[in-house]
């Protein structure tokens, strides 16, 4: 007996130009139609077995949150039907119903009541809330004195105090500091092991891979793919890369106009792209995956020895790795004006999961201080997600071999 069944689910929003239009439509008994319909979701059908964990991914506006709202019953479908068996807990937003003037205990009690627990269950759950949130004596203080992190911890502890049959999570995991994120993920994992069916919505494919074996891909309201998380994830990648390609072009144009580029422009970088081992252009890579950075440029004047350099920076702007063709001992390629050159760097992306940027520069000799032809900040963004190399933290995926033996030797 499947836990969740959805058949042809669709949700239509009626958009009225003016509230009066709605009134006129009502008054005419829906005979005059004065709205235009926007389908946030259409024709979505799938089944989830008991105890299965399914990720729901898609870009912003794909309809993920709408699907969740339908499944949790907070809104009604415009077409189709669905059935969910058992107790459903939804983490759609943390801290719902919390009142800043009341203390942690009272807020926890009310939120637990809101989940439908009776008095006895609420009483039994409170010690867990205090323990899991690690709030200690802060529980006696009004919630308005809490930091954001503390509020999040309280809210999450309340939401996961009692194991539900079906747990629906909407990106609520990606809050709090790293320590708490770990804790929350472990808690969800514990539920999974105890048989809870999990529906996890996010637009971070890495998180899906960590928790789910199956994924549904939504795009503009339709279910594009339903299958093993890896395959669906690859498809999603391809979609993003295609989108970012357009973004690249935009960046190039805007690069020309804004001050992300500098240099004498005696030579100009025309394209910066990242490719997978198969040569396909991509924007997402797994940890330690081989990649090729390609930099194309066109000199305006003849030059004997242009040097191409790059630096990869993390989300915070810290330098992760950078080098250039000079330091790598690449042979000079003199070229005449107007010709095109391509520099390629075959890299092993042994960095931790996250978002990175590539800054590219074109100059003479070994450093850009001599004569910088073109310097392009953040020419490219790419994402690294957990792959086969996992189980570490930090920006550097250092090769490691661990062992544990008796001492003395």
């Amino acid at each position: 007996m499947p836990r969740i069944v959805a058949r042809g689910l669709g949700k239509k929003y009626r958009i009225y130009r003016h509230p009066l239009a709605r009134l006129v439509e009502w008054a005419s008994g829906d005979r005059r139609v004065l709205h235009h319909a926007e389908w946030a979701l259409r024709g979505v059908s799938f089944e989830v077995a008991d105890g299965e964990s399914v990720g729901i991914i898609g870009m912003n506006g794909a309809g993920k949150s709408t699907l969740l709202r339908l499944l949790t019953g907070t809104t009604q479908p415009s077409e189709g039907s669905f059935h969910v068996a058992g107790r459903v807990a939804a983490l759609l937003e943390l801290g719902l119903g919390m009142h800043p003037e009341f203390d942690g205990w009272r807020n926890a009690m009310l939120s637990l009541q809101l989940l439908g627990l009776d008095d006895r269950q609420v009483r039994d759950a409170l010690p867990f809330v205090r323990e899991f949130s690690e709030l200690g004596s802060h529980m006696d203080q009004p919630v308005r004195t809490y930091s954001t992190g503390m509020q999040v911890r309280l809210a999450f502890s309340v939401a996961t105090a009692v194991r539900p049959d079906v747990l629906i999570v909407d990106e609520a995991l990606s809050v709090g500091d790293a320590y708490f994120q770990h804790k929350s993920t472990s808690r969800i994992r514990a539920f999974q092991e105890q048989g809870t069916t999990l529906l996890f919505v996010t637009h971070d494919p890495g998180a899906v891979k960590a928790l789910c074996r199956r994924a549904l891909l939504l795009d503009r309201g339709t279910l594009l793919r339903d299958g093993p998380a890896d395959a669906v994830f690859d498809y999603y990648n391809a979609m993003i890369a295609r989108k970012e390609e357009d973004a690249h072009i935009e960046q190039l144009e805007s690069g020309g106009r804004t001050v992300t580029r500098s240099g004498s422009r005696e030579a100009e970088i025309t394209a910066v792209t990242l490719h997978g081992a198969d040569g396909a252009e991509r924007a997402t890579f797994a940890v330690a995956e081989p990649a090729v950075l390609e930099v194309r440029f066109r000199p305006r004047v003849a030059m004997p020895s242009p040097t191409v350099g790059f630096v990869i920076r993390d989300r915070l702007g810290n330098d992760v790795f950078g080098t250039n063709t000079f330091h790598q001992g690449v042979a000079h390629q003199p070229c005449a004006a107007g010709g095109e050159l391509v520099a390629r760097f075959a890299l092993g992306l042994s960095v931790g999961p996250g978002s990175y940027s590539v800054t590219v520069a074109l100059h003479t000799e070994h450093a850009h201080v001599d004569a910088s032809f073109d310097w392009w900040d953040r020419a490219l963004l790419f994402e690294v997600v957990p792959g086969e190399v996992r189980g570490f933290t930090g920006v550097a995926a250092l090769p490691v071999r661990a062992s544990l033996e008796r001492g003395g030797g």
Partner: protein
Amino acid sequence: MVAPLGTMLRNLWSYRSFVLGMASREFRARYLGSVLGSVWAFLHPLTLVFLYTVVFGHLMRSRIPGIDDALGYGVFLCAGIFTWTAFTEILQRSVTVFLENGNLLKKMSFPRAALPAIVLVSALVNFVIVFSILLALLLLLGRFPGWPILGLVPLLVVQQALALGIGTALGVVNVFFRDVAHLLTIGLQLWFWFTPIVYPISILGDRMQTLAHLNPMTDLVAGYQGILLHGAWPTWHAWLPQAILAVLALGFARALFRRLAGELADHL
């Protein structure tokens, strides 16, 4: 999504801790951070009762026919105003309850009927406080009506049911057209003056009196006045037509909710 009546009531019952918790929290929140705390809940109505009975009683004594003792007018006023306040409180709060809790409705799955239920409980608590002060005063002044005081209960039940029905129906519509809340405020002002609360019905001419009797609240309020002033049990005029109206109103509210529940969350 909108369940049959039996299921709705059962779901509501399973959420009773939530309803009571929210009502209690609202009450506390009002006096949180104040030195006197919930003592204020008594001080306000106490002042009103004092004003109405003592001050107005003395001032108005000579001007209203049929009521000629010092405290009579005061009691008359209290009977009407306190019950009217309970009536409007439910109406005003129900009309905004869905809007106010929009976030909860959008993100959390719980019996929607819990929201009007919270309004009902809150209003009940406030009324009990106010009226117990009034009754204490009556006892003190030797004007306690005796057993007929129990006649208040069916009248109140009918009145609050009527308020809940109308209020909830308006509350649903208010989500889509926020004018409704404003219209209600104006409507209640007018309704107040069309009901003999501040004046006895006898000062109206014959034709006006007939019109006044068309107002369901007139006989209801007259019932309260009768109990507190004269110790008279209420007649069926005071509650039967109103009870029928209340049932109709509640039914209408439910039907309205069924029709619009799907779009409600989308509009919040």
